[in-house]
């Protein structure tokens, strides 16, 4: 008779087996996240658990900032106040003109009987931290789905476009900056009206306008604004300034590098534009579903 040998100590699977199990699980998660974006709800759950920890972690920095704010000198304050007042005057003048233009625009649109261009509503948010993942250019802001922030909304600061909300947690959200390697922004040259697509390069302070023909009317110093044809970014937001135009016959396209207008890495206050244009319904999905039903009926 053979007896299965009882182990002295019940320890479960061997370390190597556990290692294989957990690393396989992790790899499955990586693939599911990077390829299929399946795990949003799991991530949101983890984010909720993490939120108090992050608050604790950010508390010292906030405290230091408050302390240093307390000890700013009066001259600094008055100086700042002066510059802000001057800026306010300039802005007020521009705003008055904008109001007049908006009215005029509304009238013209009424004449043309087109859809009224949406009014923007915005949520003010502060950048909590930018993390040290060197592969991406992303920041976390302190407003989330409880403040009506949704995926895909554009984020701007005082100078121009900062990025786009890419992941939303209940009390925070992740903003991918336009300098990220995977970010593209449809832009238009303000001076000549030429349209193009601006690509992030994954390093700070540089963007590239790709696939522009040699003959394109673009010069150094041209201002690039969003063209609005993608439906994600409203038209007319400043994005970048053209820094260098290289027309080399060895390449198919001109090489145009640009510098982002917004202080993508400098400022702490941003605005999330929450009421962007609703996307037109994707005709692809509608076309795809009915034949399937028919197929079922037939089969």
């Amino acid at each position: 008779m053979e007896h299965a040998q009882q182990p002295f100590f019940n320890r479960g699977p061997t370390p190597f087996a556990r290692f294989l199990l957990f690393s396989l699980l992790a790899l499955v998660l990586v693939v599911a996240d990077s390829r299929f974006h399946y795990l949003t709800y799991v991530q949101q759950g983890v984010a909720v658990v993490l939120y108090p920890l992050q608050r604790v972690a950010l508390a010292p920095a906030a405290l230091v900032e408050r302390m240093s704010g307390f000890f700013t000198t009066q001259t600094q304050l008055t100086g700042r106040n002066n510059t802000l007042e001057q800026q306010n005057l300039v802005n007020a003048a521009a705003l008055l003109r904008l109001e007049a233009l908006e009215l005029e625009n509304a009238r013209l649109r009424g004449l043309l009987d087109t859809r009224a261009s949406h009014s923007q509503s915005a949520v003010y948010a502060e950048i909590l931290y930018s993390h040290r993942d060197p592969f991406t250019r992303r920041v976390i802001i302190g407003k989330g789905s409880t403040d009506n922030i949704g995926q895909g909304q554009p984020v701007v600061d005082a100078a121009g476009l900062v990025g786009q909300v890419t992941r939303v947690y209940p009390w925070a959200s992740q903003v991918t900056l336009i300098t990220d390697k995977d970010m593209t922004v449809p832009v238009q040259v303000m001076r000549s009206g030429v349209r193009g697509v601006l690509f992030g390069l994954g390093s700070d302070g540089v963007l590239e306008l790709r696939f522009m023909p040699f003959s394109a009317d673009i010069q150094t110093g041209d201002k690039l604004v969003t063209s609005g044809i993608d439906g994600t970014y409203p038209a007319g937001l400043p994005v970048a300034t053209v820094q260098e135009v290289e027309r080399n016959a060895a390449f198919m396209f001109a090489r145009i590098s640009a510098q982002p207008a917004a202080g993508v890495n400098r400022y702490r206050q941003v605005l999330v534009l929450t009421a962007s244009t609703p996307h037109p319904e994707n005709p692809g999905f509608e076309d795809a579903s009915p034949p399937r039903k028919r197929g079922r009926k037939g089969g």
Partner: protein, 174 residues
């Protein structure tokens, strides 16, 4: 020195589980601090260090499951690829289980060279996952944190072992 040239063995009090969870939590919070500039590129992975220590010292309390869960938390907080830190910490946990018995034969300053390969492997795995996902190579500074982490190891050892050292009552020496 004879054959048994290991470190001086000392009698320690049993660890309180609460202390283990507390230190892992603190390590996570320290990782979440808004590190910036040079410090960010120097910052060792404190969670990996704490995990290594506790898996070496208390394998019954802390194991692969804890490592994996902490990895998922790091992934969400760093907004990195979901699962990359989980994979790295699983590797760390495996390295720690391999080293568990061996480390007891050496003094802490000699641990450094044995810890380093584990931390380097974990860092390299994150890099490989990201490169496979289409990211660009972030530069060789990527491999700095494992070195600072390994150099911090003796300090981690002293700090995390401190509550277990018995206090000698000066009035009643043994």
């Amino acid at each position: 020195m004879g054959v048994s040239a290991g470190p001086r063995q000392e009698l320690l009090l049993p660890v309180r589980p609460g202390f283990v969870w507390f230190t892992l939590l603190v390590a996570l919070i320290v990782n979440l601090l808004p590190w910036a500039g040079l410090w960010a590129s120097l910052r060792p992975d404190f969670v990996a260090l704490a995990l290594l220590f506790w898996i070496v010292r208390e394998p019954r309390l802390v194991g692969f499951g804890v490592a994996f869960t902490l990895g998922l938390m790091m992934d969400v907080s760093q907004a990195s690829l979901f699962g990359q830190h989980a994979l790295a910490y699983t590797v760390v946990a495996f390295g720690a289980t391999l080293l568990r018995r061996r480390l007891r034969m050496f003094s802490t300053d000699k641990h450094v060279l044995q810890i380093l390969p584990i931390l380097l492997t974990a860092q390299a795995i994150i890099l490989l996952v990201r490169l496979a996902g289409g990211a660009a190579f972030p530069g060789w500074t990527w491999f700095v944190p494992p070195f600072t982490g390994a150099l911090l190891w003796p300090l981690v050892w002293v700090v995390l072992l401190a509550p277990q050292r018995p206090r000698v009552d000066p009035n009643h020496p043994i």
